[in-house]
């Protein structure tokens, strides 16, 4: 079961990477970054899992809790990722106002 979780994380990461490399739409590029981030965070969260563990909240409701450390990393990383995505979307609005398009191939102000 935990292997399924690891596999999903890596598949998400690779889907994001392929989208980033092969799609030419700015919004799809940002979605790709978001997917990759989701993949890594899923990996981090699932590696703290202990079979039969309960949520790490006091008072504990079972014998053994899962590792709370990866979950706190995930919270930090979610905040960081959200600020990255928000900034990217703000830049897309600016770029759209100037070029009138979100196609990477038509935005060639800085080539050469």
């Amino acid at each position: 079961m935990i292997l399924l979780s690891y596999g999903t994380a890596i598949v998400l990461f690779v889907i994001g990477l392929c989208t980033l490399l092969f799609r030419r739409n700015l919004f799809k590029i940002v979605i790709a970054l978001s997917l990759m981030e989701g993949g890594v965070l899923l990996l981090i969260t699932s590696m703290g899992y202990i079979p039969g563990g309960v949520p790490p909240l006091l008072p504990l409701l079972g014998e053994q809790a899962v590792n709370p450390l990866p979950q706190s990393f995930t919270l930090t990383a979610i905040v960081i990722g959200a600020s990255d995505i928000a900034l990217a979307l703000a830049y897309i609005i600016k770029i759209y106002h100037h070029y009138g398009t979100v196609d990477v191939d038509k935005i060639r102000g800085l080539r050469g």
Binding site: L33, V40, L43, G109
Partner: protein, 478 residues
């Protein structure tokens, strides 16, 4: 002294600036300059007192759980770099942007705090967090003020590449945590030799890929020329002089700590990417017609030069790299500041329009010539000394092709800097435009020229050579 002051002072200044703007608008310059002064003083004090090594854990936790901070001679000399580079950029920005744009100073101090944070972080997750604050601040600095569309586009490109790099670093960190259950760098060092080969390879690949994208080495350098040439001049100087050195520090630190004995293949890869970006950077710089773009491509080449020293995996190589980091900081910051003065005077960017700059602003032209000569590696200036040490380090390990690339790069860079100087010195066709006095930028450039000259005589001073060779901490490298 607790290393946290190097992060705390600029961070506090960043959050005091909006309050200062609202309640004591007249005192804003005083607040910004005194904040900058105390931040530089704090980081400098941490660097001097931490030369022999300090490590603390915040909040009284065990080293496995708490936020570990660590300073040794390697991070101390990079702290010295930030406490020289940031104040100079602050002075020039004050002249460039004035005091209406208080948001710029908030981002500036956040960037300062996070760079110092990268240098003192003692565990890899905090390294990642500081890297992200550093990156977001750098994207915002590039696109400031957001009215210029080139800057916004360059900043977006920087954001995409930077986030991609950050995700690879995060993936590498999560693999490390999965394999060892540890994040503290000093404790991790003992776990790495026991890891199986494929695991080590995956971790090294993720970290190397992420950090190379972040530092703008050759196969992933596309964001760097755009970002460094579209930003305003003081920001370009800061990006090229100081900020781009933070991922290089992380590469040196993590590479030597984790992969030195368990995975020696890591270092020839660094050497390969260094040689590649050295070649690509110099060849692309040769073809540029715009002065700031040329300087930005030259930064790609200089990153390659620094990576060569790291890739040698020897004490001599690391010493030469650190020396070159300082040489590049002093020269490239000065070159970008002079280019900014030129841009403001002429409202033009291309080499064809810069005639008569020698008669127009003699001080800046002479400073440009001196710094360019130093960066190209003309003896006896500081760039020559550091490139000579790098050559020795390459030859000592038997890496002849990188050494030849280094020599060829010197020739090409001499050619393109001579092209700029030729344009500066030829007589002007149009009447000279009105010139605004630039006392603060002039002072900063003068300081950088003096620093460059000081670096050139450093190995000749009594005790200078010993100081230089004590830069990589004892036992870090063979």
């Amino acid at each position: 002294m607790n290393p946290v002051f190097a992060v705390l002072l600029p961070l506090c200044t960043a959050f005091l600036i909006p309050l200062g703007f609202i309640f004591f608008r007249r005192a804003l310059p005083l607040l910004v300059f005194s904040g900058g002064f105390f931040s530089a003083l704090g980081a400098g004090a941490v660097a001097f007192l931490g030369w022999g090594g300090i490590s603390t854990v915040m909040g009284g936790w065990a080293p496995e759980l708490g936020i570990a901070l660590k300073v040794d001679s390697l991070s101390a000399c990079f702290l010295l770099l930030t406490s020289l580079g940031f104040p100079l950029a602050l002075l020039s920005s004050a002249e460039e942007f004035g005091w209406h744009s208080w948001r710029f100073y908030v981002i500036f101090f956040l960037s300062w705090a996070s760079t110092n944070g990268i240098l003192v972080a003692g565990d890899i997750f905090n390294l990642f967090v500081f890297f992200e604050i550093f990156s977001v601040a750098a994207y915002l600095l590039v696109s400031f003020p957001a009215s210029s569309w080139q800057a916004v586009e360059a900043s977006f490109k920087y954001l995409i590449f930077g986030t991609l790099g950050a995700l690879f670093i995060l993936l590498g960190i999560s693999y490390i945590f999965m394999a060892t259950g540890q994040l503290n760098m000093a404790l991790l060092q003992d776990f790495f030799p026991a890891l199986p080969g494929p695991t080590l390879g995956v971790i090294a690949g993720c970290l190397l890929g992420g950090l190379l994208v972040k530092c703008g080495s050759a196969p992933a350098h596309f964001w760097l020329p755009d970002a460094h040439s579209s930003a305003r001049a003081p920001v370009s100087a800061l990006l090229s002089g100081v900020l781009v050195k933070a991922p290089l520090y992380a590469l040196l630190r993590l590479g030597t700590l984790f992969f030195l004995s368990p995975l020696p293949r890591f270092f020839p890869l660094l050497l390969f990417f260094g040689t590649l970006s050295l070649g690509v950077g110099h060849l692309m710089a040769m073809q540029q017609e715009k002065i700031k773009r040329m300087l930005a491509y030259s930064t790609v080449a200089q990153i390659g030069t620094i990576l060569l020293g790291l890739g040698c995996a020897s004490s001599l190589g690391a010493t030469a790299s650190i020396y070159h980091v300082f040489t590049h900081m002093s020269s490239k910051m000065g070159l970008f500041l002079v280019a900014g003065v030129f841009l403001e005077d002429r409202h033009a960017n291309s080499l064809g329009e810069m005639k008569g700059f020698l008669r127009h602003r003699p001080f800046f032209t002479i400073a440009f010539a001196l710094l360019a000569a130093s960066l190209a590696g003309i003896p006896p200036l500081s760039g020559f000394q550091s490139k000579w040490l790098l050559l020795l380090a390459c030859v000592e390990k038997g890496y002849l092709i990188p050494a030849l690339f280094l020599l060829g790069g010197t020739l090409i860079s001499t050619a393109y800097y001579l092209k700029v100087l030729g344009a500066f010195c030829s007589p002007a066709e149009a009447p000279l435009p009105h010139r605004r006095p630039r006392p603060l930028v002039q002072g900063a450039v003068l300081f950088l020229v003096l620093l460059s000259l000081l670096l050139a005589v450093l190995p000749l001073l009594p005790g200078g050579k010993e100081l230089l060779f004590s830069l990589p901490p004892e036992g870090m490298l063979p």
